[in-house]
Amino acid sequence: MGSVKSIPSPAISADERSHEVDHPSSLVAHFGTEQPLRLDCGIDLSPFQIAYQTYGELNADRSNAVLICHALTGDQHVANVHPVTGKPGWWETLVGPGRPIDPKHYFIICSNVIGGCMGSTGPASINPATGKVWGLDFPVITIPDMVRAQAMLIDRLGIDTLFAVVGGSMGGMQVLQWTAAYPSRVFSALAIACATRHSAQNIAFHELGRQAVMADPDWHGGGYADRGIHPHRGLAVARMAAHITYLSDAALHRKFGRRMQDRELPTFSFDADFQVESYLRYQGSSFVERFDANSYLYLTRAMDYFDIAADHGGVLAKAFAGIETRFCVVSFTSDWLFPTSESRALVHALNASSARVSFAEIETDRGHDAFLLDVPEFFDISRAFLQSAGKARGLSLEDR
């Protein structure tokens, strides 16, 4: 019997990780005790900080600001090389020179969510009251909390109305929360591969991931930071399980099939014989290099709690009553994490509210992850939607 290879340890130390948590390689907005963040759980978070990136210039009218909301494991580095992984920005397919969201035309803002681990205050940050890492003492946060914090950042930047709020998956949830909470501050909203609430199946997958983290003996009830360790095995398993939900059967089959990894025959062991196993292990181990385990617990929880209709007497259309924001909703045929039916329910509610909404379902076998990949039809739609909204907003989108 061959050896059982466990998931490799992260290449970087816990120290390096905590450096980005407290001193991110990006802009930071500090909010002192006079400006607390009122959380849904009833706690005032204060002081706190938001790490963010900007691209392009704010125009004289302050009317060309685009807020990008990142997904569960994204961060503010949407269109620049990532300071930890050295990889290109996570949405450079959509954001950047010559892309649908071009810094030549728009002032692009992307902030790390509250509860994240790339510089915005979260469970990996230092609790000023104790001088120690927050860990599980950090209050449970929600998607509305994330958006409330973003609104404070937008205020700080002197922007009243965002030209567009754009996001996919958990980022799409934030887009919808923005429109429900601050309809007059959002001129147009591009909500991709998302839903107005987290489904039971999605909550179930998140619970699986959290239990994997918490079952790792290195988790220590969330107090691993004080011991200078990280539950990377549990977090990697959580990521592996989640990653499957981002793909599709067809995509996995096309990419890997039953092909073997660097071998002709099975080894009759639990080694990664199959390419798909090797791929998942890589996804797991590379993820833990840049992500905090407790942060993963908090952000998945925030998504679980999300339910816009519940916040509006159970009637989704009420959340958007009288809204003037222009919406574009995009879903992907093979996305089973946020299936088209969820987008359709949103569109029905927006129609019932007489909102101006476009809705396109894009055919692809690449699953939920399609929103981050090179899908030209998606880019064409995003570009046209923003151009049409820009025209209505009076933006000059000619080359300058």
Binding site: V329, V347, S358, I381, R383, A384
Partner: protein, 220 residues
């Protein structure tokens, strides 16, 4: 209301300009500027684009994914949906006009769809190919086969058009569900309005397609 009372619109349909279809120009002419319009079965969005050039706030529903994506890529507010199943999701009086352009014959329940149009919109504009057109009649009478034309080239077994009707049939349906016909125009093979001084059966014979502006009846 009798058929004879339905008077044709004064010669409004401009000759096909090459850019816009004659029936689209006719429909657009029926819509008051500044109003809010839902185009059910909007295809590639040509009519919506024409309406937007006239300052009309247009929305669309289209069944085919390709059509929707082309519309959205034109910056139009169009959603993917089915006239038969999705109109129920729209509230009453949501639009000034609801347009059903060359789509009625492809719906499973034309009567229910028509009722929904006039629930969602204060007015409805419906255009459809006239199966009473002489060429259609001739194909069935002489050829003995289901009619096929340049505009409707599909064979009986692969056509999406499952509920063909004649102008006369449509007028009867409007009467039956108490719909008021405010204006109506039959277009000949060349997209020209059939002259209004001709009797209605001429329309039913020489109108290749018809466009109706409808509103809710006063109740029976």
């Amino acid at each position: 209301m009798s058929v004879q009372e339905v008077l044709p619109l004064n010669g409004v349909a401009a000759a096909p300009s090459g850019q816009f279809r004659a029936d689209h120009l006719l429909v657009a002419e029926m819509v008051k500027p500044g109003s809010k319009v839902l185009d059910v079965g909007c295809g590639d969005g040509d009519l919506l684009q024409l309406l937007e050039t006239r300052g009309i706030d247009g929305r669309g529903i289209e069944l085919s994914r390709e059509g929707v994506n082309r519309c959205v890529a034109k910056g139009l507010a169009v959603v993917q949906g089915d006239a038969d199943t999705d109109l129920v999701n729209y509230p009453d009086d949501a639009f000034d006009y609801v347009i059903l352009s060359q789509t009625l014959q492809a719906t499973r329940q034309p009567k229910v769809v028509l009722e929904n149009l006039l629930r969602i919109g204060r007015r409805a504009i419906v255009s459809f190919p006239n199966f009473g057109f002489w060429k259609m009649r001739l194909q069935l009478l002489i050829g003995g086969h289901m009619p096929r034309t340049e505009n409707l080239p599909a064979t009986w077994y692969d056509t999406a058009n499952i509920h063909f009707c004649t102008i006369k049939d449509f007028v009867q349906l409007c009467d039956e569900i108490n719909v008021k016909m405010e204006r109506s125009v039959a277009l000949d093979l060349y997209g020209r309005p059939v002259p209004l001084n001709l009797p209605w059966w001429v329309w039913n014979m020489f109108g290749e397609q018809a466009v109706f502006l409808l509103s809710r009846g006063g109740g029976k």
